[in-house]
Amino acid sequence: MNKMFRLLVIVLVVAVVAGCSGGNNGGNGTAPTNKPGETNGGTQSAAPQEPVVVQMASLYPNLDANNPVMTELSKKSGFKFDLVTVTGDRNQKFDLWLASGDYPADTVILKPDYIKKYSDAGAIIPLEDLIEEHGPNIKKHFGEYFDLLKDENGHIWSLYVSNITDEPTPTMQSEFAVSYKMLEEAGYPELKTMDDLFNLLKDYYEKHPQTNGQPTIPFSGFSYNDNTYENATGPIFTTSGLENHGDLTIDENDNVRHIFTSEEAKTYLAFLNKLHIAGMLDKEFFTLKNDTMTQRLAEGRVLAGAFPSWYMQPEVEPVIRAAGNFDDLYAYFPLVFDATKPNKNFTAAATRSNWNWAITSKSKHPEEVIKLLDYMFTDEAQILINWGIEGSHYEVVDGKRVIKEEYKQGVAANPDLIWSEIVTPFYGTSMYFAHGTKLADGDYATPTTRDSVREKYDERTKEVLAEYGKEVWADFIPEVNFILHGLGQLGDVEEVRAEAERLKQIWNRDTAKIVFSASEEEFEKQWNETMRALEKAGIAKVEEAYTKLWKEATARYSHIGK
């Protein structure tokens, strides 16, 4: 009797709970959408109609929504911004938004992989018709390259700017860093090939086995994510002048080759092995990460290495400059093995697709939103978001825009000033024209120019550059190889994903063994073993799949200007 009673009570409780939840409609919980015309505070609109409120995702919590540039942008474009901030683990937030439908009503900013997820789920709308009707500036900006925005079904899912600049980006620099101290002692020689570097290192190392009381390290490297990319894989492309498409490269017949089994890879690893046999390779070459590498570089013991610019510029150079050890800085040369072959390594893709803008399916007024995005492609808007407001942030001197001294000093003293002065939700996303682009008035679109880059150099750097007759590190770069799109922009091929992963694993596991071989015979042996393992893991299949992808894309875009 007691047991029955207990069971009955449980069943009743469960039934009540189930009954209550059945009535609740699971899908009615969308956040309230914007009410057009609702303004916060007084609006002074120069536009003839009442400003439309656009709810957009913003990636910056520190953004002061009422800063001068935002207010001006509001006035000029005739829109008011309602910002929904995303911080923390962005991908998790985006996944949550997608599952619950809680994304901002009008626009979202996503990377290409999430654009695909959202478009597959129907959360964002295709834009090509809207652009046809309301997007004249977008079409003008892209010109003949407009079709690059479309996917294989002719839909445009997200917006980003093109990368077609009049001048190459002045912040570009080559990968191989060579210490000033060493160059000075050798009398600033012209370094063109890897053999030049090897001889220079050998000479200097013999004379200076110690630096500041600690052993000198002639050649070093690190890997950011433990995937040997920065130290073993990336430099293969740069030293042989190949186009870098991830782990793949493309030859003259539009065939995709995997870099792991290439001759060029063997040449570079043989070079590292030569350094190792001569005792000139850092023992921790495969175990250093970026903060330990920074410490090592800041100590001034490393003479040379392959370091990407996105690492040296923000993480290493400021540390060395702040400590005042200007002699420990590095020069950047585009070194190759064979200086007679054309160097196609410095590629620039035609579009800049990174954090792209998309219009959500919840939007009640997509035509208005596309008009706003279209406005961002005008020169006026670009000056506003890149330079600021004339008189407050920049002034026109001799017909050219120059950042005002007071503003520059202000930012140097307090870097957070930019949030309350100039930053918009478009900052850092794919909506600002590339550095080096010139606007219709003949002046630059962004404040990052050769002069501004040169200003940031210290005296010693300028001295070294002058010895070579150059002004900025970008001057060393041979001509920029302009390509329509990178293989990476076309996405992954699902069918060969497992093989590609396995190839990476084998490579990461074996490169240390190959490079640290004690003799040339052992090097050959290890290399051949790895090649066999890679072939067994299906490298041919991966190459085939990506060749197919590449050829399809090339055919699709073949009508675009050559």
């Binding site: 949550l96 619950s100 912040t171 996105w310 870097p415 957070d416 850092g428 600002y432 990052t448």
Partner: protein, 296 residues
Amino acid sequence: MRSRTKVGDGLFNVFNNTLLLLLGIATLYPFLNLLAVSLNQSLDTMRGGIYLWPREFTLDNYRLIFSNDRLFDSAALSVLRTLIGTGLSVICTIMVAYALSRREYMLRKSLNAIIVVSMYVNGGIIPIYLMIKNLGLTNTFAVYIIPGLIGAFNVMIMRSYFDQLPDGLVESAKLDGANEWQTLFRVVMPISLPVIATITLFISVGHWNSWTDNFLYNSKESLTLLQYQLMQILMQTTEQVSGGIGSGTDDAILNFTTPQSIRATMSMVVTLPILFVYPFLQKYFIKGMTLGAMKE
């Protein structure tokens, strides 16, 4: 004979003290290191070699954190949440644990089973999010308190403590004519102070440190907590340094601080309030342990 004991004692003391001192240093060292890093200039920290003392003393890291205007508001909100959340949570946990510890309660076995299962099984982040949304708790202050009100683990700890209280206690209270409320609050609670203090500590530290519910459910600026605010500062700096979103436009604009320094400063800002409050709470722990023994 006395001299032998003296030498033996002396040796033991020396050995013991040294060992304990070393242990103490080993425990304290990470904390002291963080303190040193937070007081050291950030670019200098990147050069390595900071152990116990800052090499280039600066208050810039703290200045950056405190210049955030929402910091004090969110700290106040954090304190409010900790107080309200802990108070409500402890009372509810006591009530549930007490009920589950009464042998005459008929749903006892089944509810115990359900609670244990709930510790291991949950729906995953998206169903939980949908549930919170459908309950109307997104963008409210209540979402910090209500979903986490009763923790299964805490209930089990408290219930086991109540289980091992002598039966005579409750029986004598009932004999004297107390109803369940009076039994719980006048008789059982006063002698359970150790476990209540422990649970209070767990829950309050949990509330103080939590930021994921803020991140997932609340996007209004006015509802941010201290931890989340600090996380935002950290994210911002990390993005700009590692070539994330902000770095493309203004090349190499490294702020005053690097992520490592910000993390260290954040740890200090968050831990120090608790460190200051703890000595005042300590006496309740000690008191609870010695109070109200019952003579069987």
